[in-house]
Symmetry: C2
Subunit: 587 residues, 2 copies
């Protein structure tokens, strides 16, 4: 509500009627702020720890973009990023991860204001949260200021902010000791966290602060005047910035055009010509390697592409060869302009930071980890989908095919999980052209995050696999005549199905069609006619995917999969023990 | 491999052949240790941060159980819990959450040994992890010791452990500065993290440490002798403890019987008589409230039940009225014997700690949060399922029915996610008797975790809902004659379907059967005959669940659900905007 109230009094498109509609249906003031619903809301938050981590992403984007675009005389990109967080955020692991990375990266323009009110939903934080937060943030490498009386001492708050602004080599945190529900009869208790105040309480509170208790939804004119003045100052600064940008465009034409283009979300013209194309005679390659080839070929054409990995670079193959790391220059191992982020083993923060990077507008982020560990970041992936940001997960080691690491690392439920998430595209390409297609759709879907599941093991290139087929999300990979049965599959199992067809023909005189559905979401969006041409009514069908069969019933009569955990061993042995080879009749 | 090697030389059931079979199929030495595969492996770890957080759970269990069972002269339960962790664990948020809680709880018997080798998979940790870990742990309230030369200085290591053992009011962490791959030509680099050493490297390493380079899989007899002696000492201590337990049984008969029973995993005889029973005339109640009633009624009968919430106690209704908090007595707000844990806003740590609590053997843990935020703990839930531990999630606010908090808090994909996870029971009870059934099966399933999804809003009690029907996972709730159509539903939508039936009959002369499937996993395990009696072949069928329809295709011809995000508003308005009322023909 604080955000909505401030947007209202500053003159954003948020009326008093919108305020009155708080938490009611079809309002632009939902219970938790959503970026695409409301002007001036920059990221979708509410789930604890996400907003703070988004801010770390916004600050990374600012540091990176300033290094890319600022020129002598043109300090085009130099904003501070401010974020508010409470005790709940402070307890969440995702925020701890993001804070540790922010400290490492020395994000001097990031200022976090910690509403230290000693109250969370269960009551006094002394029941669960007694750590020394200031000391913890100092340990992360942050500058820390403390304001003892956050309820009244505006001078101290301003002084603290100014000190933080002056610290350029560290992110800053202001520990603001406040009283929750300040002015209520129940101030300083858990009772005022989420419940509306009772009538008598509101009456005394309004009186205390000089309001007429009979009036509701009133803002004194002098308050409007003050904040509208602030709003006008902001608008003037925006205009000034736009003029600076136009001047910049005169002397730095290419950079200005690039910046303007990035802010539209469009990719540079012709970028897609860099996507690799394969034919069935090309040798088998792991799709994680195919992904690396895509990134290598397109990164020059798409300068906003900024990647990284949660400490699995050599396994995810997410770093093109001559990439520069995004690092504070003082460390001597990279630069602010670097386009490769070392996220550390922080999957959840990586997801939430990518949401912030995408929200900034100048960056198209991707991040790598094993498919199984995208689950660690489920909270952030959900917000990518809900807030409609373009974020790409390079999710390698996508099945029991990863072999020796065993069931703790082999996803079973993961694809079903994210396929069930609205506005999230889950790709599991079967070969080179499908991998190019996955990137093509992921990169051009401005308002949708994507998870690209990639194999550790080598995969052959398939006969009908083309970019134009694969971008439909599903198509016929193999057919030798009128089919008695349709085999439907994804990723590493498509090639196995193609082999099975040959066996079925030779040994059982059965003619089979093989369909690849690299992306449910995209295939489901095709015309019914097209879908029926791929999966004809009446032909018996079987799906084959070496993980949970959940969701496959929509396409096929029978499902072959793995509704149990995998095993540790050489991948062909794991396939055997999981009966994949029995499926294909002793292939 | 270190764990397996130590188990082998200490004389556990793990032979040299098992060692040779490391990471191969059907071995008891999988790539990451699994509790149920291998004697002496106490928790399933591998996914980073989980093992450390399990240890916090084991230490909580020890502190709690010692308060419950120890008597003057009988220090029956007094073990230390040791855990090893590396830089990866240190970066994961789940470990940060668990460390903060452990510090708050003053878990004096927990000793963590941090292998501070400055290397993670991406190379030198200075690329992503430069925080002051010792300072961070001090901020959490831990005692910290540092050993500078962890490669050689055994005396310093022993001294540090002894110092930590003597600190009784804080958990302890030993920061052990080591060299990864010590002795290898590539020691101290990322190259030795996960890859096998090359032949020449192994040769020089064996020579360096006095081994014959030609011999493989050899343990010198004096090493066996030393460790077998340690093993024998351990066995003697175990025997001593068993004798102490027998002596204890003489003077504390009931406590000893209780302890022995708990260790079998069986519940006390007759506990189930406390489960509440309802009839359709009872007034409508929210299933989160029904869950509270169950906990209130059974907690005395099942003393091993230890609950908690991730800072949503008043919303999850997870705390029976006179519960005592599990807290260090010095805080004055609880006791070590308390059975209610204030987890703070730390869902992921709560999940991993519950795995440790369950593994200890004397505790049956449950924990509450909103269903949507069980996803934050996906990594831990997966390990509950894989390691076959009995852990119960009280997952309230289970749908768009939560209303005002909006789409950031309304689960859509969550049930599909966990239904796709093997060995995980997902319950969504529709009323009182189904809630009792969910608890009945969850509590008696010794080797399976459960997630019980519960409503915020009131639900009527249904006519055929009985414990014996509901424990089958699916049954006919309502029928008035030969059905033209079958409506299949769960939770809060079952009552809506029953109302729809009346409307269908009156306005369209259509006879409908209503089926409730509170738990897919349990229903799928029933005989085919029973399943067909509930969902007859041939009758047209429609599923109704206000979230992702994924997975429902297995039961019904058509699916009604919500393959989009929800909305913020009064819950009946949200239902309208999501067309739930259109579904039931303007109900």
């Amino acid at each position: 509500m604080l955000q909505y109230a401030l947007l209202h009094i500053c003159g954003y498109k948020l009326s008093m009627d919108d305020i009155k509609a708080f938490r009611s249906i079809d309002s632009i003031t939902p219970g938790h702020p959503e970026a695409h619903d409301t002007d001036g809301i920059e990221v979708t938050t509410g789930p604890l720890g996400q907003g703070f981590s988004n801010a770390v992403g916004l600050a990374i984007a600012q540091h990176h973009s300033s290094a890319e675009f600022n020129k002598p005389g043109f300090e085009l990109i130099n904003n501070y990023t401010y974020t508010f967080l409470g005790d709940g955020c402070m307890m969440e692991g995702v925020a701890s991860e993001a804070a540790s990375l922010a400290g490492h990266l020395q994000l001097g323009n990031l200022i976090a204001i910690y509403d230290d009110n000693h109250i969370s939903i269960d009551g006094d934080t002394n029941c669960a949260f007694t750590e020394d937060v200031a000391m913890r943030f100092k340990a992360y490498g942050w500058h820390v200021e403390t304001v003892d009386d956050g309820d009244h001492d505006l001078e101290a708050i301003e002084a603290a902010i100014k000190k933080c602004q002056a610290v350029k080599d560290k992110p800053s945190m202001i520990k603001l000791r406040t009283t929750i529900g300040y002015g209520s009869l129940h101030q300083g208790t858990g009772g005022v966290h989420g419940s509306a105040l009772k009538k008598d309480d509101i009456t005394q509170l309004k009186k205390k602060f000089g309001f007429n208790p009979e009036e509701t939804f009133v803002v004194p004119q002098e308050v409007y005047d003050l904040y509208h003045k602030k709003g006008a100052e902001g608008a003037a600064k925006e205009k000034e910035w736009e003029q600076l940008l136009e001047k910049y465009a005169g002397s730095h034409k290419a950079e200005a055009a690039d910046l303007k283009r990035r802010l539209t979300g469009d990719l540079p013209e012709g970028w897609e010509k860099n996507l690799p194309v394969y034919s069935p005679s090309d040798s088998a390659v792991a799709s994680r390697k195919l992904s690396e080839i895509v990134l290598t070929k397109i990164h020059q054409a798409i300068p906003e592409l900024v990647g990284g990995s949660a400490d699995l670079t050599g396994s995810n193959l997410t770093r093109w060869k001559d990439a520069v790391d995004f690092q504070p220059p003082s460390l001597g191992i990279g630069d602010w302009s670097g386009r490769y982020i070392r996220y550390g083993v922080r999957e959840h923060a990586m997801g939430a930071i990518m949401n912030g990077l995408a929200a900034y507008g100048t960056i198209l982020p991707y991040g790598g980890t094993f498919l199984n560990f995208v689950s660690y970041a489920a909270g952030a992936v959900r917000l990518s989908a809900l807030s409609q940001v373009r974020v790409i997960w390079v999710a390698t080691h996508d099945s029991i095919g990863l072999g020796e690491d065993g069931p703790t690392h082999q996803p079973i439920e993961t694809l079903a999980h994210f396929r069930a998430l609205p506005n999230c595209m889950v790709w599991r390409p079967a070969d080179g052209n499908e991998t190019s297609a996955a990137y093509y759709i992921a990169l051009t879907s401005k308002h949708t995050p994507s998870i690209i599941a990639l194999s550790r093991q080598n995969l052959p290139h398939l006969e009908n696999s083309t970019l134009s087929n694969a971008i439909k999300g599903g198509y016929v990979v193999h057919e030798t005549g009128k089919a008695d049965i349709t085999l439907v599959s994804t990723g590493s199992e498509v090639g196995i199905c193609v082999d099975a067809v040959k066996y079925l023909k030779e040994k059982h005189s059965i003619t089979a069609r093989v369909v690849s559905i690299p992306c449910f979401e995209v295939f489901d969006a095709q015309s019914k006619e097209y879908r029926l041409s791929v999966l004809p009514d009446g032909t018996p069908s079987l799906s084959v995917e070496v993980m949970s069969t959940m969701g496959w019933e929509r396409y096929t009569h029978e499902q072959f999969g793995l509704n149990r955990f995998g095993a540790s061993g050489a991948y062909k042995d794991v396939y055997k023990v999981c009966h994949i080879y029995i499926f294909i009749f002793q292939y």
